[in-house]
Point group: C2
Chain length 168, copies 2
DNA sequence: ATAAACTTTCATTATTTTTTGAAAGTTTAA
DNA sequence: TTAAACTTTCAAAAAATAATGAAAGTTTAT
């Protein structure tokens, strides 16, 4: 396989994975492109390579910056803005974990906790099932949450080292 | 808050979380409804409660069965089919982890491994960056994969116990 | 001050995903 | 065997999401 072909395949694969996990395909593709680019790229580079419009490129890059995955770079004596991605996989994972936790998990946790406090008739099967199911989900969600918090703070080697020491 | 209101809020919240993570909202809502129902429900019950069409209910239930989250139940002397969900949060998490791994992670891992073997000119910055980025992602994905495999096999208390012993 | 270079916005259009509902299919009891 | 009870399918419609591109906005050099 040629490098050019491999790059396309990576961009495509990363885009597909993103879309399956609720991240817009184009955004994941732009991220993939920046991940394998040694140099920072301009909006035009990205538009051309991925055949997307200027508006789309602009908004997608802004989103990626919002996710903490991409940064702007100013080159001395140039008007254009350049964009580059952090290439460290652990940083990427932590960043995504942190953002999705904040945006999606934390609000759900808040609701689950509220709902868990509901008082009612312990004789009512509806109430009992509601209570029990919620308690189980709530406990699990709490554990996931704690693990994510640890992960977000941790160094990669320590984190996996710790996990695999037990799961060997 | 009333039980009825709390139920609606749970169904809505579960549906939103699903849609943010690439699971169709209706499917997550049907799952939520079954999670808090002490009795198995019929297609009609679900159609009415969630205001969805027969076709939608039928296909969604089939999907949920495909995910291993819901089962059919036959009641003696009745023609209708009843559906009920496993209410154990750890079973649910394991089941979802297993299915998403199989459907989404494994195929990506396969491609990443292929792409990682690419040979080329070590002097070419494009090639070097491609190689390095891919190696990092590949290693991380491998670790995630191993952890998921452990989780899928594990008992809940052992799994979290092991993790929190280290992350205390 | 102004005009070229560049970026951002957002109403409109296109694409993708989900839902509907009626018809076709299946099962069961008599 | 047949007809009622129930389930499944799938083409078409609706809804949700994403992309376009031209116009408006901003910045910088002169």
């Amino acid at each position: 396989m040629e490098l050019a072909e491999a790059k396309l395949k990576f961009i495509e694969t990363w885009g597909k994975l993103g879309s399956e996990w609720g991240i817009n395909r184009t955004m994941a593709q732009v991220h993939a492109l920046l991940l394998i680019s040694p140099e920072a790229l301009t909006t035009e580079d990205i538009m051309e390579t991925l055949s997307i419009s200027r508006g789309n490129a602009n908004m997608t890059l802004r989103d990626l910056i919002g996710w903490g995955l991409v940064e702007k770079q100013h080159k001395a004596g140039e008007r254009k803005e350049y964009f580059f991605a952090d290439k460290d996989a652990w940083n990427i994972a932590r960043q995504v974990a942190q953002e999705r936790k904040k945006r999606e998990l934390d609000p759900v946790l808040k609701v689950l906790n509220e709902l868990s406090t509901l008082k009612g008739d312990e004789k009512d099967p509806d109430f009992k099932t509601f209570k029990t199911s919620l308690a189980g989900i709530n406990k699990l969600a709490g554990n996931v949450n704690k693990t994510l918090e640890t992960m977000i703070k941790a160094e990669e080697s320590w984190f996996w080292g710790s996990i695999f020491k037990l799961f060997k």
